[in-house]
């Protein structure tokens, strides 16, 4: 098992390097001038050239990449062009806020997704299955930014129950899960949770339906195992695939959602990315994308390890 983990870490290293190269190149290939965020529109060519040199944008791309990678390896993601603040501090704060949102959405999405999936899987082709599947299809297909706007209209604009934007009455500083801050969390978390809920619900439904028709389940029942005992076996057999899907969904959630975080002005990574894209803030954009990509790489690694622990056949394969 340890060898397997070491091998997987070994595979992750070149992936991480590739990710850093891709995110650097993609950001630099995008149109627009990174200095537009800080230069007045009518800045002279001389001033543009001075600023370009000051930020190192006059160097060839491979040199820029080398300098950036070297700094990244030393834990320095550079400074935001637009704000001058260290990218690491900006991304750390945003990641913290996205984690809060992702954890809440995960709790809601995974719980309800799993519940609806099992209900639909066990009661296949019944009205319960249809209702649970309808909820799942709604979750998968409804654009979540649209749902966010609708929730804001109902619960913020019309009823005035919940605040529509921000992370707390004083911003995200000193965030604490008290009632005051939770009020700000409800709408974005519910909005974020619908897609994972739908995806997980449909996956679990298919898995459960499939497992229940397998021979070993009939054998277990024939041997007189209680329905709860059978259920435990179904869970264990459905878990590896479900966890793989959940890992991906968790990755998406941790990466924040540009749309949801923008609709709710939630100061997470999605909100930060949106600002960085519109301001052509290359260091911030590169740093944020890199951190999020590393999340995916790490999560995939963790999922592989957990899957192997649950099903040793994967390691052998």
């Amino acid at each position: 098992m340890i060898l397997f983990i070491l091998k997987r870490i070994g595979y992750a290293a070149p992936v991480a390097l590739g990710v850093s190269l891709v995110c650097f190149l993609l950001v630099h290939l995008a149109p627009g001038d990174p200095l537009s965020a800080i230069l007045p529109v009518d800045a002279t060519a001389e001033m543009q050239a001075q600023m370009r040199a000051a930020y190192g944008f006059d160097k060839p791309l491979p040199v820029q990449y080398g300098i950036w990678l070297w700094k990244v390896l030393h834990g320095d993601l550079g400074n935001s062009i637009a704000t001058g603040r260290p990218v690491l501090a900006e991304v750390s704060r945003a990641v913290g806020n996205s984690l809060i949102l992702a954890a809440s959405a995960t709790l809601i999405g995974f719980t309800f997704g799993t519940f609806f999936g099992f209900v639909a899987g066990y009661a296949r082709d019944s009205w319960l299955d249809r209702v649970a599947s309808a909820v799942a299809v709604f979750g998968v297909s409804v654009p979540h930014y649209w749902l966010g706007i609708v929730l804001v209209i109902i619960f913020s604009a019309n009823l005035g129950w919940l605040p529509p934007t921000g992370a707390g009455p004083q911003g995200s500083g000193n965030w604490w899960p008290d009632l005051e801050h939770l009020r700000y969390l409800v709408l974005p978390a519910v909005t974020m949770s619908v897609i994972p809920m739908g995806v997980i619900s449909r996956t679990v439904r298919a898995l459960v339906g499939d497992i229940l028709h397998q021979d070993f389940v009939q054998a277990l029942r024939a041997k007189g195992l209680s329905e709860f005992g059978v259920f435990r076996h179904v869970v264990k057999n459905a878990a590896p695939t479900a966890i793989a899907i959940m890992g991906l969904q968790l990755g998406y959630l941790l990466g924040g959602s540009i749309l949801v975080e923008t609709v709710f002005a939630w100061p997470g990574t999605g909100f930060l990315l949106n600002a960085a894209i519109f301001q052509r803030d290359l260091p911030l954009l590169q740093g944020t994308i890199l951190v999020l990509a590393m999340f995916f790489v790490t999560l995939n690694l963790l999922v592989d390890v957990v899957q192997t622990a649950l099903d040793p056949r994967i390691e052998r394969a």
């Binding site: 704000t83 604009a157 605040p163 004083q170 009632l179 002005a265 100061p267 930060l272 052509r280």
Partner: protein, 533 residues
């Protein structure tokens, strides 16, 4: 059937409702369009909005803008300088007599040394306080400054390359931050950003990057008539238009900048107030005068200007626009008496095109560069399509090259002759037209064609250059006004631009906001505002 226990749910809902924060009296919360708090150290970024909320709130310039009237265009007034004049013997030297007894928020005194220190901050790259970020914002505004010195503790002399009567407009961009505060905070601008110190009517007391800034009144402000009446001012960046509307509708903020036109009816229906006014902004097509451009023919330029149904466009925008009557806003002191009237007259447009050799058999075909969105661009796609239809009706067939806003800015900087213009003969661009340079000179002076400046269309007319020279060398304000009127008359009579409309700077606010006077300016005075109970 299982009984549903609704008690805990209702309890939670009730608790959520009851825990809604009480709105403190005298606190104004503003939802800005910016995605971050503008730079707080003195010279703000984020353009006009930055100057509005983090410039003239926490800071002053030597010369300020009069923002007290909604009925006339804002004018320059004494700020930290009580008076200014040019040296009688040498018109390149400006003498500023500073206002006595002005203190920065940290208690240190404002004096001539502080002015020199602030100019070094922007212009002298080897000075300890030189700040590239502030310099990027401020240096471009005072391009002609060649020297400056303190003549005595309350008098400063600033020298320009050539005599320049527009210099007061330029120096009105430059905000004064506290040298003592910078020293106290370890000569570190990042530290200053969290605890800045200016001389303005508001003091920054709280700052969460990208989320909020809090300001309280500076009770010691030198202009006692402008000591803020509110207890507190909170600035919240809300770049997404729907999020701003939702925040206002739910009572999370009391005021939002730039509500989307289609949200205005619902905001009005909800009892919220929409405030608009003219301000120095125009939405135009900047015409190329490069070789081969159809716009080199004045008849074609005039025809296009007569083909646009500006009133129809205003209606299309829900009334949130003022149809252009010229390049400057209607009623502006520089407007003058142009003879060419920007009416909607397709028949006259067709006649002019016929005289120019065009007609139904030989329509003009040309390409125009536009953006899908952008600062000050209003609703560029539907508005340009509206114009496209108008122009097609008289025989000008326009094809659009749609680019992203920052790309369009770069094309604008590069000029109409550059490859990046992709053969476009006009560009839809919105302009700040606040002072003689931003309104006229930068667009039309011969030697400001790219790469020396932003005369995008390469327009060059010696007669116009003479007028610009006169603007710069006429130091008597009344005489200068006459020259500026002549410049504007030439802009309109020669139909240098396709002059379409002016934005009206809409903002929506709670009816509790009292005392706000929307000045005809990019900046606004927040000091007279109170919040009704």
């Amino acid at each position: 059937m299982r009984k549903v226990h609704r008690g805990p749910l209702l309890g939670l809902a009730l608790a959520l409702v009851l825990s809604a924060p009480a709105v403190a009296q005298g606190v104004l919360r503003i939802g800005m369009t910016a995605s971050d708090i503008p730079l707080t150290t003195g010279q703000p970024d984020n353009g006009g909005e930055g100057m509005r909320f983090m410039g003239f709130t926490a800071y002053d310039a030597l010369i300020n803008w009069d923002l007290s009237s909604a009925d006339k265009a804002s004018e320059l007034i004494p700020g930290l300088a009580a008076s200014w004049k040019t040296d009688d013997a040498d018109k390149t030297k400006w003498i500023f007599t500073l206002r006595p007894d002005v203190k920065f928020h940290d208690g240190s005194a404002f004096n001539a040394d502080a002015v020199v220190w602030n100019l070094d901050k922007l212009l002298k790259t080897d000075s300890p306080q030189y700040d590239p970020r502030q310099s990027a914002q401020g240096r471009i505004r005072i391009p002609g400054v060649t020297g400056y010195k303190a003549l005595d503790p309350m008098t400063v002399e600033i020298t320009t390359k050539t005599p320049d009567a527009t210099f007061p407009y330029q120096i009105a961009w430059i905000m004064m931050s506290s040298p003592a505060n910078w020293e106290k905070l370890g000569k570190n601008w990042d530290a200053v950003a969290k605890a800045p110190s200016g001389t303005g009517p508001w003091k920054l007391t709280g700052f969460v990057p990208r989320e909020r800034a809090e300001l309280v009144p500076n009770k010691e402000y030198w202009d006692k008539n402008r000591v803020p009446k509110l207890d507190r001012l909170v600035l919240v960046p809300l770049p997404e238009a729907n999020a701003r509307v939702a925040a206002l509708r739910s009572g999370q903020v009391d005021w939002i900048e730039a509500p989307a036109p289609d949200a205005v009816p619902s905001l009005k229906a909800a009892g919220l107030v929409i405030v608009t006014n003219l301000y120095p902004h125009n939405w135009t097509w900047h015409l190329s005068r490069a070789e081969g451009s159809p716009w080199n023919d004045i008849r074609v330029r005039k025809a296009a200007n007569l083909a646009v149904d500006r009133e129809g466009l205003k209606e299309f925008l829900g009334g949130l626009a003022t149809p252009a009557q010229g390049f400057m806003t209607p009623g502006h002191p520089w407007f003058g008496k142009p003879t060419f009237k920007l009416g909607y007259d397709p028949a006259a447009a067709k006649k002019l095109l016929k005289e120019a050799g065009y007609g139904p058999d030989k329509p003009i075909k040309t390409k125009v560069l536009i953006s899908a969105s952008g600062s000050g661009q209003m609703q560029p796609l539907p508005m340009n399509e509206f114009l496209q239809q108008n122009l097609a009706e008289v025989g000008i067939n326009v094809e659009f090259e749609v680019t992203e806003w920052n790309t369009l800015i770069n094309i604008w900087r590069a000029g109409a002759k550059a490859d990046s213009a992709r053969g476009g003969t006009a560009m839809n661009y919105s302009y700040l037209i606040q002072d003689p340079f931003t309104a006229f000179i930068r667009h039309a002076q011969c030697n400001l064609a790219p790469p020396n400046g932003t005369n995008w269309g390469y327009y060059c007319d010696p007669e116009m250059d003479k007028l610009f020279d006169a603007v710069r060398t006429t130091f008597d304000p009344k005489e200068q006004l006459t020259v500026l009127q002549k410049v504007h008359e030439k802009f309109v009579d020669d139909a240098l631009f396709l002059m379409v409309t002016h934005d009206v700077n809409p903002r929506a606010m709670s009816p509790k906001v009292k005392g706000f006077v929307q000045a005809q300016s990019w900046y606004q005075d927040l000091t007279p505002i109170t919040m009704a109970k």
